[in-house]
C-alpha cells in the first residue's frame, strides 16, 4: 500500500493551516484533549478514503461530512477545506501527491497519475480500517459475537462473501420453489390423461394398452413402443377426425365427475376440520397488535433485504452503506425469528388448501370449454366466476398479508356457492342428452383427446425436468460455495487466532506466558474467548483488566491487518488506542510494533507525554518523529510546541551524570504540556 511523507491540512475540522512531516516513518502526535490530534487523524482518513468515519458512523444523526468537516468558520465554503499528502508507494517505488477537497470528497487529485498508482490508491480508499480508534478497538473485543462478526466481516470485507452466499441460497430456493409449483400442473395433466384413457396408473404399458384398444376398433395398427414423439392417433386421417362430434361425450361426463369430487373435497368436513386450527392460529397473530406488527415488519425487512443491491435508496436516491444497512436489517430479522417461524408454519398448513383451489379452478375451466362447444345454451357463468375466485383466493392466501384478509378468506374457503353446482348439473344434463357416438366415433374421440392430453403432460414433464436440472445445479453450487467458504474462513480465523495469541503474549510475557485465545466462527457470529491464567476460556471482558482488553483489541487488529494486507500493511493510524495500558506494557507494545511490523508506518496519537517518550526511547519513532500540540483555539487551530527533542536532551544530560539539568528539562516539558 502506501506510506505518508507529509500532510498539509487547510480549514479542516479544528485546523486552519498545518503541515506535518512524517518522512514515511512512524510518528506520534501528542497533546491534551481538545488540541487538534483527532483533526489530523480525520484529515489522514479523509485524504486517503474520502470519508471521516467518526462523522458518518452509527448514531451520527444529522452530522455530515460536507457540512461539518470544514473548519467551523468555513462551514459554508467546503471548497476551502483541503487536505493534501505526499505519499510513497513502496511496491512501485514511486512518490505521489494527493489532494482532496471537502466540496468534492469523491474526487482525488493525483500528481503524477498512472494506472498502477490509481490502482494502489483505489485499494487504499477501499480500506478505511487503516485508521483505528480506541472506540473501534473495543468493538472487536467487547462486542457480542454477532456484532463482533459484523465488525470483523467489515474489516476483512467478508460482506462480499456473505452477499454471494445469500444470493446463491436465494437462487437455490427460488428454483426449488419453481420446481414445486410445476408439480401441480404436471399432476393435473397426468390425471386428465388417465381419465381420457380410463387407466388407473400412468405407465407406458397402460397407455399403449388403452390406446391400442381404441385403435383396434378403428382397424389401425397397434403402437409397439411409446417414444417421446409417438402419437396415439397415428394413422387417423384428418377427415376421419372431423367426423368426430365436437364433444367427446364419455370424456366430458368423466371430467364433470372429477370436478364434483374436487368440490366435494373443498366443502367436505375433513377440509373444514383442517381449516379451523389454521384460522385460530392466524387470528391469534392478527388480534395481537405486537405480533401483527411483527409479521408486517418481518415481511418488510425480508423484502427490503432482497432489494438492497444498489448503492442508493431506489426511492429517494440517498446514498447508503450496503453492508451496514444489510447488517441492520439482518439483526432486526434475527429478532423477529420466532414470529417468522410462526408465519412459515402457517404458510405450510395453508399450502395444501391453495393446491386444492388451483386444482378446482383448472378443472372447472375444462368444463367451461365443453360449455362453449355445445350447441345448446348452458349457463356456466357462475362456475367460471368461481374458478376465477379460486385463483384470486389462492393469491390472497399466498400473499399472507394482511393477516386479517387471510383469516377472512380462510373462513369462506369451504363455501362453494350453490349456483356453481347448478351450472355443472345443467352442463351434465346437456351433455348426457347428446346422442351416443358410434363405437368408431367414440374411439376417435378418445384417441384425439388422449393425444392432446399426452402432449400437455409431456410439456409439463419437460418443464419439470429442465427445472429439476437447474434446481440441482443451483443447490450443488450453493452447497459447494458454503463448504468452501467455511473451510477458507475457518483456516483464516485459525491463522488470525494464532497470530493474535502470539502478539498478545509478546506484550504480556511477564504475566501471561501461557495465554491462548479461541476465535470460533458460527453462522452470523464470531465467538472470541481468551484463556485466563489457565482457569478456562472466558470472554475478554470477563476477568481481564481494561488495559489488557485494550492490548487484546490492538493485537487482534494487528493480526487481522497482517492477514488482510500481508506485505501491503505499510500504514496505520492508531488513535489513542492504548489509553488504559500501563507504562510497562506500553514499552512492550513499542517493541512489538518495531520488531513485528518493521515496514509499517504507524501514526499514533496520545494525550500522554510519557507514552510519547516511550515511543522515542524504544526507538519506535525517531527524535523528530513527533509533534506536541500545546493548545488550541478556534481562530488558530492547534499550536505546537517544538520540544527540541527534550527527552533526548534529558537523556544526554543523564549520560553526562547531570541529573539536575535532566530534571529541569523534564519539568520544563511537563509545565508547558500542562498549560
Amino acid at each position: 500500500m502506501i506510506q505518508v511523507d507529509s500532510i498539509t491540512i487547510k480549514e479542516f475540522r479544528g485546523i486552519r493551516d498545518l503541515t506535518l512531516n512524517f518522512n514515511g516513518k512512524s510518528f506520534a502526535i501528542c497533546g491534551p484533549n481538545g488540541t487538534g490530534k483527532s483533526g489530523v487523524v480525520d484529515a489522514l482518513e479523509f485524504v486517503l478514503t474520502g470519508n471521516i468515519s467518526r462523522l458518518s458512523g452509527e448514531g451520527r444523526g444529522e452530522i455530515s461530512l460536507k457540512q461539518h468537516a470544514p473548519h467551523v468558520d468555513k462551514r459554508d465554503n467546503p471548497g476551502h477545506a483541503l487536505v493534501s499528502a505526499k505519499l510513497t508507494i513502496p511496491s512501485l517505488k514511486k512518490s505521489v501527491t494527493i489532494e482532496r477537497s471537502v466540496k468534492t470528497p469523491g474526487t482525488l487529485k493525483v500528481t503524477p497519475s498512472d494506472t498502477e498508482i490509481a490502482k494502489v490508491l483505489s485499494h487504499v480508499e477501499a480500506h478505511p480500517e487503516v485508521v483505528l480508534s480506541r472506540r473501534e478497538l473495543i468493538r472487536y473485543v467487547l462486542a457480542t459475537p454477532g456484532k463482533r462478526n459484523e465488525e470483523v466481516q467489515a474489516l476483512l470485507h467478508l460482506d462480499q462473501i456473505e452477499q454471494v452466499r445469500a444470493n446463491l441460497q436465494k437462487i437455490a430456493n427460488s428454483t426449488d420453489k419453481q420446481l414445486k409449483a410445476l408439480e401441480l400442473p404436471l399432476n393435473a395433466a397426468r390425471d386428465n390423461l388417465m381419465r381420457a384413457l380410463s387407466i388407473a396408473e400412468l405407465s407406458a404399458e397402460n397407455i399403449l394398452s388403452s390406446a391400442n384398444k381404441q385403435r383396434g376398433i378403428l382397424e389401425l395398427p397397434n403402437i409397439v413402443e411409446l417414444a417421446a414423439t409417438t402419437s396415439l392417433k397415428d394413422g387417423l386421417t384428418a377427415q376421419a377426425q372431423r367426423k368426430s362430434q365436437s364433444i367427446a361425450k364419455s370424456q366430458a361426463l368423466s371430467d364433470i365427475t372429477a370436478v364434483r369430487e374436487i368440490l366435494d373435497e373443498m366443502s367436505g368436513e375433513p377440509t373444514k376440520a383442517k381449516i379451523k386450527p389454521i384460522i385460530e392460529d392466524a387470528s391469534s397473530l392478527a388480534n395481537d397488535p405486537t405480533l401483527a406488527s411483527g409479521v408486517t415488519k418481518e415481511n418488510f425487512y425480508r423484502v427490503g433485504l432482497s432489494v438492497i443491491e444498489t448503492e442508493a435508496c431506489p426511492f429517494c436516491e440517498t446514498e447508503w452503506d450496503i453492508a451496514t444497512l444489510k447488517s441492520r436489517a439482518e439483526t432486526k430479522l434475527r429478532n423477529l425469528a420466532e414470529i417468522a417461524g410462526r408465519r412459515k408454519a402457517l404458510e405450510g398448513k395453508i399450502k395444501p388448501l391453495t393446491e386444492l383451489l388451483r386444482k378446482a379452478g383448472a378443472a372447472i375451466n375444462v368444463l367451461a370449454r365443453y360449455s362453449a362447444a355445445t350447441t345448446l345454451p348452458v349457463d356456466m357463468e357462475a362456475a367460471v366466476k368461481f374458478a376465477a375466485s379460486c385463483q384470486s383466493v389462492t393469491r390472497t392466501l399466498e400473499a399472507f398479508l394482511p393477516i386479517t384478509k387471510t383469516v377472512d378468506t380462510l373462513k369462506m374457503l369451504s363455501d362453494v356457492p350453490p349456483d356453481v353446482g347448478e351450472a355443472i348439473s345443467s352442463l351434465e344434463k346437456t351433455i348426457a342428452a347428446l346422442p351416443d357416438p358410434s363405437k368408431q366415433d367414440a374411439a376417435r374421440d378418445i384417441l384425439t383427446i388422449s393425444q392432446e392430453r399426452l402432449e400437455v403432460w409431456r410439456e409439463a414433464k419437460r418443464n419439470l425436468k429442465s427445472t429439476q436440472v437447474k434446481a440441482l445445479l443451483a443447490r450443488r453450487i450453493f452447497e459447494t460455495y458454503g463448504k468452501t467458504s467455511d473451510r477458507v474462513l475457518t483456516e483464516l480465523y485459525a491463522t488470525v487466532q494464532n497470530d493474535f495469541s502470539a502478539l498478545y503474549k509478546a506484550i504480556n510475557h511477564t504475566d501471561e506466558k501461557s495465554f491462548t485465545a479461541k476465535l470460533v466462527p458460527s453462522l452470523g457470529k464470531l465467538g472470541f474467548d481468551v484463556n485466563f491464567y489457565d482457569r478456562g476460556f472466558f470472554p475478554p471482558g470477563a476477568y481481564h483488566s481494561e488495559g489488557h482488553q485494550d492490548g487484546m483489541g490492538l493485537c487482534l487488529y494487528l493480526a487481522l491487518m497482517r492477514h488482510l494486507h500481508g506485505k501491503g500493511f505499510t500504514f496505520a493510524v492508531l488513535d489513542d488506542v492504548l489509553m488504559s495500558v500501563d507504562a510497562g506494557h506500553r514499552r512492550e507494545v513499542c517493541g512489538l510494533l518495531k520488531r513485528e511490523f518493521p515496514n509499517t508506518q504507524f501514526v499514533m496519537t496520545t494525550h500522554d507525554p510519557i507514552w510519547m517518550r516511550h515511543m522515542k526511547t524504544e526507538g519506535l519513532i525517531s527524535g523528530r518523529g513527533a509533534v506536541q500540540f500545546r493548545a488550541w483555539d478556534v481562530n488558530q487551530g492547534p499550536t505546537q510546541w517544538d520540544d527540541r527533542d527534550v527527552w533526548k536532551e534529558a537523556d544526554d544530560y543523564l549520560q553526562k551524570n547531570d541529573v539536575r539539568s535532566a530534571r529541569v528539562q523534564r519539568q520544563l516539558f511537563f509545565t508547558i504540556s500542562d498549560n
Binding site: 476483512l156 470485507h157 462473501i161 443491491e309 459447494t480 463448504k483 467458504s485 477458507v488 497470530d499 495469541s501
Partner: protein, 64 residues
C-alpha cells in the same frame, strides 16, 4: 513470538474464497463454461447481485 504468518500473502479474503470455490466446482466436474462464467462474474466483474449470479449459473437470466 511463536508465530508469524506468511507476509507475502496479500490476496483479499473474498478473492481467496472465490478462488477456492471455483477450484472446488471445477474439481467436482462442473461444466467448464459454467466455471468460466462464474470466474468472470466473481473475479473480474466483482458483481455479486442475484441477477448476475443467475446469469453466471444458468448462462441466461431466467425469470425464476
Amino acid at each position: 513470538m511463536e508465530s508469524s504468518p506468511n507476509s507475502t500473502e496479500n490476496v483479499d479474503v473474498p478473492t481467496q474464497v472465490f478462488e477456492a470455490f471455483l477450484k472446488s466446482i471445477q474439481a467436482a466436474g462442473e461444466d467448464a463454461e459454467l466455471v468460466a462464467r462464474l470466474r468472470k462474474t466473481l473475479m473480474e466483474e466483482r458483481s455479486f447481485s442475484e441477477a448476475a449470479m443467475k446469469m453466471a449459473i444458468f448462462g441466461h437470466n431466467p425469470s425464476l
